[in-house]
Symmetry: C2
Amino acid sequence: MNNPTLEDIDKIIHEPARLLIVMHLSLVEKADFLYLLAVTGLSKGNLSTHLQKLETEGYVEISKQFLGKKPQTILQLTPKGARKLLEYKITMQNLWDKL
Amino acid sequence: MNNPTLEDIDKIIHEPARLLIVMHLSLVEKADFLYLLAVTGLSKGNLSTHLQKLETEGYVEISKQFLGKKPQTILQLTPKGARKLLEYKITMQNLWDKL
DNA sequence: AGGACTGGTTTGCGATACAAACCTAAAGGA
DNA sequence: TCCTTTAGGTTTGTATCGCAAACCAGTCCT
């Protein structure tokens, strides 16, 4: 029967705010903080902490640079992050097939 | 562009443990506590509190009866619960289509 | 009687999501 | 020049929540 279990669901990605972030990053493959801020609709604090979480888990790479005199934070999905997103998608779609 | 937002994701259903519960209930339309305990693999306490949450949100109806001398807790999805699950499914599938 | 099992519920705690408050530096106005 | 505002984030505080351990009422066994 092989019921779906909870362990199969990646909690890092499953969190809605992070799911949005990661999905957007997978579409553009590179983005800055303000872009994500706009497209996700998250608050700055919220976005910042979720990005940090994604970084410590190795899903996202955060790099900082200056654009003229303004600081800029660039985000991109790591290979691991991309893989995990794909796995998550498959897990969830399997779930739906049972429904 | 109409980006998906966080508000669209039903947090009640989104929680993995509850998603499992609700999916199983949608398949059988009626189940007792011990059946759910087995198929979901949740701990008793965890199952109990999630069911209570689903009840207070009006997604699940909890009724208790005696089967011989043993107490038995019967669970079933309410119409609202069934509708919400369907909406959740659609929301998530729309999300995947963008990916 | 008393110990173990059934069928759950309640309690305690650790983790987490979230926004408000904060911070540093640059730009603009008086 | 000083002072206020804006940009671009980060840190802090809080309230919620998921989870399992502990608990509980009732039944069965011996």
